[in-house]
């Protein structure tokens, strides 16, 4: 018995510390607000910033999906763009199998290893380009021969379940579902390891959404892609996710294994978000969170969710909580700090 149980422990420890394919560590990205004119510079007026992403840390293994769940303005799309190198973060690092991801134009070692599928295929595909050329575009800088390139394009089109007859049509002639398949095909041609999917099904109908989600899962099983799927839809998150990071106003407030986060949400915001989504065959009007998110420009001090949080304590409005590890899930909330809670209780 003893050696057996010893063996199983080792297996568990190795699976607990797996090799992550994509590593995102302490990433922050802010955007200057408006233009800073000459007068502003003379008077040394301090520039204003929108702090889109703050201190984001996530890891994704090959063949697995990280879902970034959040509402508009949560910074989920900016995080996705930083991951593929479309935005340069102010601080923090992104790496694929240890190679740092650089901005797209100077990408070098990571070129083609990260791809992004954008939200609205209607505007991310050139309406006048033939599908054949759209899908071949990631190969423009490669040294492949024409034949090899055509072969790759055909393969990608087959993989996403489209007929070869679409190759000579233009993106504008395709239906919404077909367009999104073409965007996925375009992401596949450079043999990526990581694919960031930004709301890939939010602009298409439900009946087509199921087809596209099934396709994404199949492609991942065959090729071991690591997905970062950005969505606001808890149903899509449940279907796709191995792990989940919930974002609110630029911060990851809760992250961990998908089942844990979705079934026993720990952060009050995650709880409210999941409760607010209407459920099919449940006629009760979802729980209501009060208020709306504050502006990203003048973020309140402390926890960004404190102004709307039903459990807010004094400390929440003063200092921003650091993540606590609770049952394997990382939660940035003082409710999981025993000292804070015990100190707050007598006051209330």
């Amino acid at each position: 018995m003893a050696p057996l149980s010893g063996a199983s422990t080792t297996v568990r420890t190795t699976s607990r510390k797996p090799e992550s394919l994509l590593e995102v560590e302490g990433v922050a990205k802010q955007f200057p607000l408006g233009k800073r004119g000459l007068w502003d510079r003379i008077t040394r007026k301090r520039p204003k910033y929108v702090r889109a992403v703050r201190d984001a840390t996530v890891r994704v293994r090959a063949g697995e999906t990280l879902v970034v769940l959040g509402e508009s303005g949560s910074g989920k799309t900016t995080l996705g763009r930083v991951i593929v190198g479309l935005e340069k973060p102010e601080s923090g690092r992104v790496a694929v199998s240890g190679d740092p991801v650089r901005p797209v134009r100077e990408s070098g070692a990571t070129r083609g290893r990260l791809q992004m599928v954008f939200q609205d295929p209607g505007s991310s595909l050139d309406p006048f380009m033939k599908v054949r050329d759209v899908v071949a575009e990631p190969l423009v800088k490669s040294s492949l021969s024409d034949d090899a390139r055509t072969e790759k394009v055909l393969q990608a089109i087959n993989n996403v379940g489209l007929d070869q007859s679409v190759l000579d049509r233009r993106a504008s002639e395709l239906s919404g579902g077909q367009k999104q398949r073409v965007s996925v095909a375009r992401a596949l041609t450079s043999n990526p390891e990581v694919i960031v999917l930004d709301e890939p099904t939010s602009s298409i109908d439900v009946s087509i959404q199921a087809q596209v989600l099934n396709l994404l899962v199949d492609l991942q099983k065959q090729n071991g892609y690591a997905y970062v799927l950005i969505t606001h839809d808890p149903n899509v998150a449940r279907f796709m996710a191995d792990s989940i990071a919930v974002m609110y106003l630029g911060k990851i407030v809760e992250s961990g294994q998908a089942g844990q986060v979705l079934q026993q949400p720990k952060h009050p915001y995650t709880q409210a978000l999941l409760a607010a989504a209407p459920k099919l065959r449940d006629a009760s009007i979802p729980d209501v969170i009060k208020g709306e998110p504050p502006s990203l420009i003048n973020l309140p001090p402390g926890c960004p969710y404190a102004p709307r949080c039903p459990h807010a304590m004094d400390v929440c409005g003063e200092r921003e909580p650091q993540p606590y590890l609770v049952e394997g899930v990382s939660v940035a909330c003082y409710l999981y700090d025993k000292d804070v809670v015990s100190r707050a209780e007598p006051a209330s």
């Binding site: 009946s207 978000l273 729980d287 709306e292």
Partner: protein, 328 residues
Amino acid sequence: MEVLRVEGLTVDYKAGGGQVHALRNVSLTIQEREIVGVVGESGSGKSTLALAVSRLLRSPPAIQRSGRIVFRGSDIAQLLPSKIDNIRGTGIFMVFQDPFLSLNPLMKVKDQIIEAISVRLKHDSRRFDREEAERGAISHLKTVRIGDAEDVAERYPHQLSGGQIQRVMLAMALAERPQLLIADEPTTALDVTTQSQILTTLKDIVEETKMGVLFVTHDLAVAGVICNQMAVLYGGMVQEAGPTSKILFEPKHPYTMGLIDSVPSKTKEEGPLTAIRGSFNPAGLEKICPFTPRCPLARDECRKGVPAQNMVDGTVVRCINYGENYES
């Protein structure tokens, strides 16, 4: 009391040389205090229906071929444009999907609600008092649960969030007290947390004013939460209609079943989602059941004609599996 009755409404769009059926023989009724959901995908005709009922369809290209739109006992489809203005606002009020297109960008929120109040007063031949209207505007903003109502009232639409604008629209509806509210995807552009707030507010307003609501949405779950009755549109036709719980728990039409199954309700480890095959393409569907090319139960009889409506267990179903009757 019946607020709206649509009977056999057929609307075509002129496109190129030919014509496309946008709505075919659509019938539905809305009672006082009732929220009727019109659910469908893009191209199903749901927005055309909302525009037709509010008489906002642009013609050409739209042509109303046949049918009646009975509001307050008279067919508004036949009304002259000059008479329509008497109905709009106080009779039929619309809330659209894109909140940023629905308010006047040059007017303060307060003044837009006051205008709505004055329209109502004029309609009732009552005297307009500016101060009283101002107080009314603030109180309506409070009813739709806008925080800092006094402050928001002084702002312009571009200074508001999408959720706040939809609330202002509901406040205007409160001011106009219409008998019928037409809401075309009113929460689609909003976050889920804001959406749940707006849906609650809408339900409260319906209780208070007794108005009927035509609620157009692509989201079955939203319709399930807010609607008493539902009509599922596909290819411009009502494929299935009845009480919401019947439609969601005992769907009869293969399209409704497919739509419900398409909503992701499991994890990928539990197997692939049930998807409806193909996509909607109106070509060649004029004389058959429009769902035939995508239907898992399709057979030769589906191509014999357009199925007629069958009454099955309290719901209306257009499918030959419930009786081989054809309309044309």
